[in-house]
């Protein structure tokens, strides 16, 4: 068992691109679910809209990538309005139904044969659409540490990605300690009471849906740029539920919850995977019990089991306050 290699892989996953994507997606969900109490089960839709807007505009229409980013933000605002206008006046469960359906509709449209010309069908879009972004990379040699290696492009994505995470965490922190954040958290507790005090609840819920959706579209940008391709099936419902797992693991309604959750989630996933892989390769686990091909599935089972145990023994997540969680059970 090469423990150094295992740790190296796990650490680079914990601070790598996937951790950034899920941290950003979960920061958006934290605004929706953690602070405002909006059940958005379609965060994958916001990522898809961000990623596809950039890829389609740059590859098919040769728009500058910076304009494409701007358009991606615009598209996610539009999506939030589209989702919010009919549902935010209704009870919370309606938003959940509509968002989960919309995210699937977006994915199915992107992979449809009739729109293959624009979205590339189930293969998605591949191309050097990040060229202008990578041209700004000030690190032409990448990173070569004993423990950690990045190609120049990867290093640049990771640096910009974590900078985005820091910016959005700081914005969340500022918003949530302001009177605006007080209204948002009050809406999570009881909409009617907030209405009775003269606040336009619908308006605030819409702002929250838009903000969280925009952060989600940035996760989509990182997803598209880091892989230099977009593929429809990356934006399935599973992505949304992994983002929820990350958020709840870290602690909902905590500023740093999504970030810690994402780092720990990816560290554990890769750690478990590498341990299993080496155990199978070194015959520590006999072949009749698990073959090398099954490692990818078994790691999710084990991490899933871990999440279940966490929910039983520490339902508030890493940063949460159990006493505060208990208050939710209305006396």
């Amino acid at each position: 068992m090469d423990w150094v290699f295992i740790l190296q892989q796990a650490i680079s996953a914990g601070i790598g691109v996937n951790a950034i994507i899920f941290a950003l997606a979960a920061i958006g969900l934290n605004m929706h679910f953690g602070y405002t109490g909006l059940l958005n089960f379609g965060q994958a839709g916001f990522l898809a809209v961000g990623a596809y807007t950039v890829a389609v505009l740059v590859v098919n229409f040769e728009v500058s990538i910076w304009l494409a980013f701007l358009a991606g933000v615009g598209a996610s605002i539009l999506l939030a309005l589209l989702l919010g206008i009919p549902t935010l006046r209704l009870r919370a469960d309606y938003l959940a139904i509509v968002t989960i359906a919309t995210a699937e509709i977006i994915r199915q449209v992107a992979r449809s044969v009739s729109l293959r010309e624009y979205f590339g069908g189930s293969d998605g879009i591949t191309g050097k659409f990040g060229a202008d972004f990578f041209a700004l990379n000030p690190f032409p040699n990448g990173l070569e540490l004993a423990f950690l290696r990045y190609t120049p492009n990867d290093l640049w994505v990771v640096i910009v990605g974590w900078a985005l995470v820091v910016i959005f965490v700081f914005l969340t922190y500022l918003m949530m300690r302001s009177p605006w954040g007080r209204v948002i958290k009050a809406i999570r507790e009881d909409e009617e009471a907030v209405r009775s005090l003269g606040k336009n609840v619908y308006f605030y819920k819409m702002q929250s849906l838009i903000l969280g959706g925009v952060v989600g579209s940035f996760a989509g940008f990182v997803y598209a740029i880091s892989r230099q391709s977009v593929q429809p099936d990356n934006y399935s419902t599973a992505l949304t539920f992994f983002a929820y797992a990350v958020l709840i693991l870290g602690g909902a309604a905590r500023v740093l919850g999504p970030v810690a959750g994402s780092i720990i989630f990816w560290f554990l996933l890769v750690f478990v995977e590498q341990v299993l892989r080496q155990a199978v390769a070194n015959d520590l686990i006999p072949n009749w019990l698990m073959s090398p091909n099954q490692v990818g599935q078994v790691r999710f089972m084990l991490v899933g089991l871990g999440l279940m145990l966490l929910m039983i023994y520490r339902p508030q997540g890493i940063f949460g306050d159990r006493k505060e969680l208990a208050l939710d059970a209305r006396a």
């Binding site: 918003m175 605006w180 958290k185 209405r195 005090l197 606040k199």
Partner: protein, 289 residues
Amino acid sequence: MQELKSTPKRDAALAALASVPSIPGIKKPDPIIIADNVVRRFGGLTAVDVEHVEIQRGTITALIGPNGAGKTTFFNLLTGFDKPNSGNWTFNGKALAGIAPHKVARLGMVRTFQLTKALFRLSVMDNMRLGAKNQVGEGILRALLPFSWRSQEERITQRATELLTRFKLDSKADDFAAALSGGQRKLLEMARALMVDPELVMLDEPMAGVNPALTQSLLGHIKDLREQGMTVLFVEHDMDMVRDISDWVIVMAQGKVVAEGPPDSVMSNPAVIDAYLGAHHDQPLDEQE
């Protein structure tokens, strides 16, 4: 029963109502609310069918009636939380039909709820601060600039502290609202409503579930509202309390206003006794068909 103390505002309220006859739907000298033909049906059931009712400014008016009389539904309609099938009503002369509840509150008509709505995972102080109107920092962009709202926040906090002290909740200011007892939550809800600077305070069963030790202080607070120039309309089942603090009583039964008048006389009104006990309550059973 505690002795009814004479205060200038109470005397003024009683004097204004002295010449008003006890007839359901009677006009008042200076009404703050006038409602006409407000009807709300739930399927086949007509929950509220109020032909005409006025609430006198500067008084404490009680709205009583048996369970299912439509009192809370009428409250919900007046404050915009429910929409009537038909009807018009005005607050300070402004028509309110079709106005959203948050706008009704901003106009100065603030309600509390029968099932207390304390915001559990907010501190008691944050519950209070939330009530203040026209907060700069509640705008999404100004929220990011703490220097633009900090001084207003300090003024709001000061006012909230004064109110909390008055309601004897100041020692709980930093606790979660969920940590308060049922009675304290009622107090908090009332104090929070006052942060909105209302002209008319509408209390839906302020005494429900409050222990007797707190009852007297709650009663005192309600009387205080009138002394500060506010009008109070409240729904209540506790007749002793109604008799104790109200200047005028409106009785609803099966959605309609069936009687109104000063508390002492309205309780002996045959229409009220009928509403609570049924129309045939004094007749021998063998006379019924």
